[in-house]
């Protein structure tokens, strides 16, 4: 049971994480559901193969049959036969900012989700429980928006050069100094895309002869970056320090495979908040292990920066640790700052090195000035340097909303995963049909939610993932909780045995 805290002395607050086990009957019924869908999927493929049913997906023409197939037929099996049936729950077009409420374009399908038509109507003021908008900066009014508009008029909307050429503007310098100050590190480097911050910088940090120890639930950008680097990758169980320490010991004792030469570098790659689990990394233990085994630590704070900690400075601030203990601080501006892009913070030498060796810094066009200004304004607000207490109020509001929302859902009898302080709240649905039904029933009640199923989650752990925001008022949350309770009764989702 890896939920038990092994070194409580390392933590300055109680670390409470829960993953209630799937009820066995529900697991069996879930497999049965997937089995029935698979059987009918094979039936449909059979009918499409013999032209009994018209095939509406892309496939080779008859003249191309003798060439190597372009489409790996089986790889699309789930997309064709499971995802298509319920895909009206995803990719819903919005017409406005994804704030605490949003407007959704109403769509309808007359051929079981193969094609969609807009009805021309708009669903107004849908409560947004799905977007990453932890501090509520996704808004088109207020000081952030005004500042971004001014900067747009002054600099224009885009930069057509890279940071190493004409694309290096004063606003970028100003932003990087602010980010470094916010993080409490020596220097910082920013990039126009969050995903690229991981996938393009890890190859600049590790290479052949290095070992990357990666959490099994790391984001695809970390996985891609680790693979692009050419390093050896070993995966440890999610947030499991025993598993991590075992890999570290093996790495040091045995060294590289075959030659047994010592590894040039050990890089531990973890995330601050895991957005599918709602869990928070056990950072004090990771840092203790890193120091003990002389490894480097790469911390991806995509979700935790701005959303955790008394000052909103992420998981390092949350545990009250020293930012210098983390060798590479990475994060994105997408979730808490209402912007886009990512940053890497650390020692000055490291940042200088990345400035000249990172693919993104050399080849990618710089971050657009309005986005940079959005980051500067929102970060200044969070730090309280704008002369108001807006930032502190939002941080407190987010923390209260998170605690309240999680507690209420648990009291209602739902199975909630993750850490009590994480603003990402996964609520378990389990059966495949309930994924589609939950999203539809909630939208009927004017609430937008995100539902996730296999293969993005383990087959018996489909879930709805709520993202709490500081922009949600207590009334909004109560409306959402009431609707979730209703739908939970209708679909019988209250599985928890701790009711």
């Amino acid at each position: 049971n890896h939920n038990v805290v092994r070194n409580p002395s390392l933590y300055n607050k109680p670390f409470v994480e829960s993953y209630e086990e799937t009820p066995l009957l529900v697991a069996v019924l879930t497999y049965m559901g997937y089995g029935i869908l698979t059987i009918f999927g094979y039936l449909r493929d059979f009918m499409r193969h013999w032209n009994i049913e018209k095939c509406s997906v892309a496939r080779e023409r008859d003249e191309q049959k003798d060439f190597v197939p372009l489409y790996q037929d089986f790889e699309n099996f789930y997309t064709r036969n499971l995802y298509t049936r319920i895909r009206d729950n995803w990719n819903r077009p919005l017409c406005g900012v994804p704030g605490s409420k949003m407007d959704i374009v109403e769509q309808v399908s007359h051929d079981y989700n193969r094609t969609f038509q807009n009805t021309g109507k708009i669903m107004r003021d849908v409560i947004n429980m799905g977007s990453y908008n932890y501090l509520g900066f996704a808004e088109n009014v207020g000081q952030c928006a005004d500042a971004a508009i001014q900067v747009t008029e002054k600099y224009g909307s885009g930069v057509c050069g890279t940071r190493c050429e004409m694309g290096n503007l004063d606003i970028h310098q100003e932003m990087e100094e602010l980010v470094a100050r916010f993080l409490g590190v020596e220097s910082a480097l920013t990039f126009g895309m969050g995903f690229a911050t991981n996938s393009m910088n890890i190859p600049a940090l590790a290479g052949k002869g290095c070992l990357i120890l990666s959490d099994e639930l790391n984001h695809a950008s970390l996985v891609l970056g680790a693979r692009l680097s050419g390093s050896t990758i070993r995966v440890f169980k999610h947030n499991n320090m025993v598993s991590l320490e075992k890999l570290l010991r093996d790495a040091i004792v045995h060294g590289q495979p075959r030659t047994h030469r010592p590894w040039k570098k050990l890089l531990i790659v973890v995330e601050g908040i895991y957005s599918m689990e709602g869990s928070i990394v056990r950072l004090p233990e990771v840092i203790a292990l890193k120091k003990r085994y002389k490894a480097f630590l790469y911390l991806d704070e995509a979700h935790s920066i701005g959303a955790l900690g008394p000052n909103g400075k992420g998981v390092v601030d949350y545990f009250g640790l020293d930012p210098k203990d983390v060798d590479i601080m990475m994060g994105t501006f997408t979730k808490s700052f209402g912007a886009a892009g990512g940053y890497i913070g650390g020692k000055r030498e490291l940042i200088q090195y990345l400035r000249s060796h990172s693919h993104s810094a050399v080849y990618a066009t710089s971050m657009p000035p309005p986005v940079a200004q959005q980051i500067i304004t929102s970060m200044t607000t969070i730090m309280g340097e704008d002369g108001t207490s807006l930032g502190a109020d939002r941080l407190r509001q987010l923390s209260e909303n998170t605690t309240y929302f999680r507690r209420k859902l648990r009291e209602m009898g739902f199975i909630i995963y993750g850490n009590d302080d994480s603003p990402v709240v996964p609520m378990m649905l389990y059966m495949p049909a309930k994924i589609g039904a939950f999203g539809r029933e909630m939208l009927k009640r004017n609430i937008g939610t995100v539902v996730v199923g296999f293969p993005a989650t383990p087959i018996i752990e489909s879930r709805a993932r709520f993202c709490v925001s500081a922009a949600h008022t207590r009334e909004t949350l109560d409306v959402a909780l009431k609707a979730i309770g209703e739908v939970g009764d209708l679909l019988q989702l209250k599985y928890s045995r701790h009711q």
Partner: protein, 39 residues
């Protein structure tokens, strides 16, 4: 509704549900008949 959700028929098209339900009914009928003959 619960039956549709638990068996995932909720995601199938009406004609597929008809196939599944008629199969289920015929197997159940056969089982009852065979049980009756056996007993």
């Amino acid at each position: 509704y619960q039956y549709l959700l638990v068996t995932a028929l909720y995601m199938l098209e009406p004609w597929e549900r008809t196939i599944f339900n008629s199969l289920l009914v015929s197997v159940a009928a056969m089982a009852v008949y065979t049980g009756y003959v056996f007993i």
